[in-house]
Each structure stands twice: as structure tokens, then as C-alpha cells.
Symmetry: C2
Subunit: 408 residues, 2 copies
């Protein structure tokens, strides 16, 4: 692929116009939308309107007048079609970690006699840390982790819930949502998916796969802003039977009656806890509006084309220097690609110094995320070209690129 080829692919791309909805610096190639999504052009204005006209002018009356009170459900309804859920099956609330805690505890309670949370040894650490926290509170529960290829075999009669991340944060490996959900169900367990690296980048159909529970992140491919509120999904049929352990007033059937005892709301809103940040919700709302007029089918097709083009370019131009650490088959890959290099940290720093923004994950992974709404084939070409030059010239081998300081 030449630069001309890349530009021709961008010219033919039906999603190319979406890039105009984002305010990207002109001089960089941003391949870290899997860590922090880019800024939508509309966000600053939406947040300013919220702050100055709603909060500033209408003050407390805004909870009704501007629908703040229903914002977690209203914004969730925009997210629902991106993950194959019904609008009333999704809630925007808290952080991914907090939502995991709620759903793990609810799942354990919904499977009396079963005491195991089963997960994958390489699951995203916070998912395991949260399960550890729950186990610390409830000594009858245990967390069991197994390698990816033994998950199905490890589900047994004590498994209350199988907790997995669909797309691995390191390698980008994608689990088969329907197959593992089916395996959990056949053993009588519930399934809980973390969609942090899936939602907004690949096609996810929670209903079609008969999923029970899911959580995910608002600040990656959903472009909700740094630390944006997260989401949770509960299949409609399960909702009446599940209870949140973080039973705050916003999940009460009548929060402003100030009843002395907790009485959960109907539906998914019972999984609200304290008062949510309306400013943070508004920024996420603007991020979700970037998906209007697109389909996840088109977005996933572009994701595969971008990541495949990047793999092809890097393997052609950096042969022998890097090793693909992501699945080669796009069906089993998410929207980011990792290459291993013994000096991966320094190489990433050298790339960043030249305006190609990827990130590093220990011990040796260089990660490149492709956000189909704003990345294009020219980004792929430029990133591979810059990487090839840095590797060919050993430009990464400078003291400044070896000094650790990066936190994200």
C-alpha cells in the first residue's frame, strides 16, 4: 500500500466524513482511541450549554426542566443499539469497576448454592481486583481464574457467573460472545461481559447471543471524555430478580419520598446508586451522538480493514523487527493491534515524538488502536511508515525515549 493507495481508500470510505465530527490536532496520527477517545466537535458546546444555560440559569429546576433526572437512562438508550441491547436494558452509571461490583454481587445472589466467580487469568486487572474485593467481603465466594483456552472446561456446578472481557486490552484477542455465553448457560451459570474494548468499535449483539450481564467503558471508543461514566447491561428478563448491593437513593422506587427503607425501582434504574455527574453525562451524550447515521456493521468492517492494512504494512516494512502479538484472523481480533518489540517502550516514545500516538503495555507490547469513526487508511500508512523508519534507523535508542514516565 502506497500513500496514494491509502488516500484512495479514504476517498472511497463511506465513514470518512465522520472524521469531521472530531477535533483532532492536524499534525498527529492518533491511534490511542482505545485508551482515550478523541474529542467530538460538539462536546465543548454541549457542555457549555449545560453549565451556563442549564445549571447557571435554571439551577435546581434543571433536574426536571432539562431532564437531568432521566439522563442515565436517556443516554443509555442511545448506547443500546451499539451493543445489540434494548433501550431499557442499558444504564449509564458510575465507573466500569463499580458497575462490575454491582453485577458480580447481583449475579452471585441470583445463583444460590453456587459460589464461584470464574474468570480468565489474563482478564483486565481491575476486573479481577473488583472480584477480589467482593470475595474479601463475602468469604463464601471464591474467584477462580483459568487460561483462555480452558475456560469452557472450567465452568462447573459451582460457577455462579463467568466474567470475561470480550476484547483483551493487550493482544486485542476477541472472545466468541455467543459460544462462551452458551457454555455458561449450559452449566447453569450467568455470563458477565466487559465490553470496554468492544463497544463502539466492533459489532456486539448482546441480545442475539442471549447475554445476561455486561459492563463497559465510556471514554474509549464511545468518546465520552476522560473518565466518562461507564455503562451496564442487564437482560430484560433478569432485571426483576437482580438487586444491587450499592443501593443508593437514585435507585430507590421513590427517591424523593425519603422513605427510611430501601425499595428498588422497577427496571434497570435500580442499579443507579448516588447522584451522577450531569456534566460528565453530557459529555458522554455528545460522544454517542457521533454514531448517529452509522451502523456497527459498517464500523466493524472498517475496523477490520484498518487493522488488517496496518498488520500488512508493518509486516512488510518492518519484517524481522517486530512480532505480531494480536490474532491474525480479524474475526478473533478487536479494533487494536499489538506488536511486540524488546524495546517497545522506547519505540512508542519515539513514535509519539514524531506525532504517531500509540501506547505501551508491559512487558513489550506496542498497542495501536483504530477508531473507525476518525481513523483512516492514511493514518495506517503514516503510522507504519514512521515505525519502519524508527526501526530501520534505531531512532528509538536515545536516552530520552527510555526514561519511564508514561502512565496511560
Amino acid at each position: 500500500m502506497t500513500l496514494d493507495d491509502a488516500q484512495a481508500l479514504d476517498a472511497a470510505d463511506h465513514l470518512a466524513a465522520c472524521r469531521g465530527h472530531f477535533q483532532l490536532p492536524p499534525d498527529i496520527v492518533y491511534l490511542d482511541g482505545n485508551s482515550l477517545g478523541a474529542l467530538p466537535v460538539a462536546t465543548a458546546g454541549r457542555v457549555a450549554e449545560l453549565i451556563e444555560r442549564q445549571w447557571g440559569k435554571d439551577l435546581i429546576a434543571s433536574w426536571n426542566k432539562h431532564g437531568w433526572i432521566e439522563a442515565p437512562q436517556r443516554i443509555a438508550a442511545k448506547l443500546a443499539p451499539l451493543i445489540g441491547a434494548k433501550p431499557n436494558e442499558v444504564l449509564v452509571a458510575d465507573s466500569t469497576s463499580i458497575n462490575l461490583f454491582k453485577l458480580l454481587a447481583a449475579a452471585i445472589a441470583a445463583r444460590p448454592g453456587r459460589n464461584t466467580i470464574l474468570s480468565e487469568t489474563g482478564n483486565f486487572p481491575t476486573d479481577l481486583y473488583i472480584a477480589e474485593g467482593l470475595v474479601g467481603l463475602c468469604p463464601n465466594i471464591r474467584l477462580k481464574t483459568v487460561e483462555a483456552d480452558t475456560i469452557e472446561a472450567a465452568i462447573d456446578a459451582d460457577t455462579a457467573v463467568l466474567m470475561l472481557t470480550q476484547v483483551d486490552y493487550g493482544s486485542g484477542r476477541r472472545h466468541d460472545l455467543a459460544a462462551l455465553t452458551g457454555a455458561a448457560h449450559r452449566a447453569g451459570a450467568l455470563i458477565l461481559w466487559d465490553l470496554s474494548h468492544s463497544a463502539g468499535a466492533i459489532e456486539v449483539d448482546l441480545n442475539d447471543a442471549d447475554c445476561d450481564l455486561a459492563v463497559g467503558c465510556g471514554y474509549k471508543y464511545l468518546n465520552g471524555g476522560p473518565g466518562a461514566p461507564a455503562f451496564l447491561f442487564i437482560a430484560e428478563a433478569l432485571q426483576p430478580t437482580l438487586a444491587t448491593p450499592l443501593s443508593g437513593w437514585m435507585g430507590h422506587a421513590d427517591p424523593f419520598a425519603f422513605e427510611p427503607n430501601y425499595r428498588p425501582r422497577d427496571g434497570i434504574a435500580r442499579f443507579l446508586s448516588g447522584t451522577p455527574s450531569i456534566i460528565a453525562l453530557t459529555s458522554l451524550d455528545a460522544g454517542l451522538d457521533s454514531f448517529v447515521g452509522t451502523t456497527m456493521t459498517a464500523i466493524e468492517a472498517k475496523s477490520r480493514a484498518l487493522s488488517q492494512a496496518f498488520i500488512d504494512q508493518v509486516e512488510t516494512r518492518c519484517s524481522g523487527e517486530v512480532a505480531l502479538a494480536s490474532p491474525r484472523d480479524p474475526v478473533t481480533r478487536g479494533s487494536h493491534v499489538s506488536f511486540a518489540h524488546p524495546n517497545g517502550y522506547a519505540v512508542i516514545q519515539a513514535l509519539i515524538a514524531r506525532g504517531v500516538i500509540g501506547d505501551f503495555r508491559a512487558p513489550d507490547l506496542m498497542r495501536f488502536g483504530f477508531a473507525p469513526l476518525y481513523n483512516g487508511f492514511e493514518d495506517v500508512w503514516r503510522a507504519a511508515d514512521t515505525l519502519a523508519d524508527i526501526l530501520a534507523t534505531r531512532a528509538w535508542d536515545k536516552e530520552c525515549f527510555h526514561a519511564r514516565g508514561q502512565v496511560t
Copy 2:
């Protein structure tokens, strides 16, 4: 007090200039800062700078370059002097409800052999709901609530933690922080204070009273914006011994090492959980900057003067129509005043229609909050004058004022 008297008091008020730091609509008297604080003039610009220049321009690098990663501690350090805490004893995180859950669970674990959470029957409902949620998870724990005047007598050898709200959301009654903390300690229990209706309005000295734990709200007197992040306090000496059950990656000793097991950070930052909203934190940061150059001693003195002037005016001008539902002695009162009226809901609606913004709390309380940074004596006079007229003319007795719809 005449309008001239009120204006003379405002002219002599050293804090009067602080009102200029807030963007209040010119035509209203806002007495609901105890529910949603007013908008600081600086907030919109601070948030716009964060969104457009930090997120938009520096993207993922902002976590280091703009200090996002340390924001929860940096902003907490601004809050610490407002509540008599050391900077390393406060953390801004999550919601008040979530923080209560963390601290209740940590307190129970820190008092082995003791299984009771003791609280007050009239505590703010979400505090009790959260305790209920914890009890639901851990059947060995129990929640015991007693009336306010029997709290001290109810603390016993099974009390792990006494959880109280310092200033009651309804009546404004203020507990004696030092006396009840001492009573808990004498019985070997920990104390956990909810400062939601205290912080930023009255003088609180957690260290002087030897308090163990506290939580509070960022969106009331701290002016952090709707649903702003909350805070938690842990006395320095206790920190190494306390563990959070919501053990997310931001509280890990080395979050970016992606270790498989949870290992808490040193200090209070272990009580972080998931990734916090940087936009919401920035708005709270701007809210806290409104306190620069003030002292809580001066703020509490003005709070007492305002609430006392309001009580005096209302009792003089509305005699026989309303009953004071707040303590008469300002030492035992927070910064809001409640009056009972059989048609309190309709009266509040009639006040709002005339631009005097208070709120209603069931069954019959009309609440008026005085935020010393932006409320003045002219506000007091206008509110009392409008209330007197509405009561004298029965202007509240219109159908439109009786229809329930208010949610806050």
C-alpha cells in the same frame, strides 16, 4: 429588619464580594445552595480549557502533562482545610453513596468481633440504604437505628461504627461532632460522619474532634456542579489499616503494571476505584476555588447571621402561619432553615413562581438554604417579604401550585 437595614448589613459584610464569583440570575433569590450550589463564574472557562486544550489537543498525554492522574488528591487537598483535615486525609472520588459503602465496609473489617452499624432513624435515606446494601451482602453485619436523643446510650460493645450525618437534611439540626465522636471512641467504635450539609457552610474540624472517617457531597455548598464527585476522609493514622471493598485499578499500588492481584497504594489513594471523570473533577476544582481568601470561621459566622435573620423576619411577619422546624439555637443548626406549613409544597411553588427558590421536603417542610459565599441579607429580606405576602394573601392556594412534579 427593613430592606435598608438588610442592604446596610450587606455593605458591611466582608464576604459580600464573594457573590461576584458566582453567576446568579439577577431576578431570583436562590436559597437552594444546600441542594445544588450556584455556578461559579470561573467554571465554564475551566471546563472549556480542559475539554478543548487538554483533552482535544493533548489527548492521552494529558494524564501526565496536565496532572489528571493526581487530580483526585490535588483537588482533595483544596477541600481539606474547609473540614479541618490534613491534605493527605481527603480524597475526591465517586459519589457520597459509594464512598459510604467503602468506608462502612472498611470500618466493620477494622473492628473484628463487632458487627453493628449504628445510625440514626432519621439519617439521610441514602446513608441507610447503603448500609442496608452492605448488610444484604454480609449477613453477619446488622444495621441498628435509634432516635437522635438515644444515640449515645445505644453505642455498645457490638458497635463497629457509628454512622451519622452532622447536619440533618430536613430540620438542619446539627450534631455535636466532638461529643458523639468521643462517645463512639469510649465504646471502642469508629465514627463515620456524613458532612454533605456541612462542608463549605459551617466550621468543621475533623482533626480537632479526633474523627476517624467522613464523607460528603461536592454539589451542595462546595459548588462543584450537578452530581459533582464526592469526597471521603480517613484520619492519617487509620489509613494503613483500612481496605476498600471496591478495589479498582486506580487504588492499586502500581496501576499501570497490570499485576494480576490487587495491592493497595499507600495512603488514602487506595480508596480510589475506577477511572474518575476529569471533567467533573475540574468543575469541582473550580467550585473549591471560590473559597480562596475566606475562612470557615467567617463563613459560619455569616451563615448563622443569615439564618437567624431569616428566622426572626419570618416569625415576625408570618406569625401563626408557619412553625419553625429547625433548632432555635444557631450552635445546633446548620446553614439551612426549615419551616413547617400544612400546605408547604404549594407555598414553595408559589415562592418559586415569584423567584424565591427554596425547596420542599415531605411531609410539610419548606427548606431555605443560606450559602454564605453568595447569599446576603437582602436575599433574606426578599425571601421573608415574599413569603409573608404569599401567606397573607393565600396566593399559594392555586391549582397550579398543588400539582406535584418537583423532584429535588
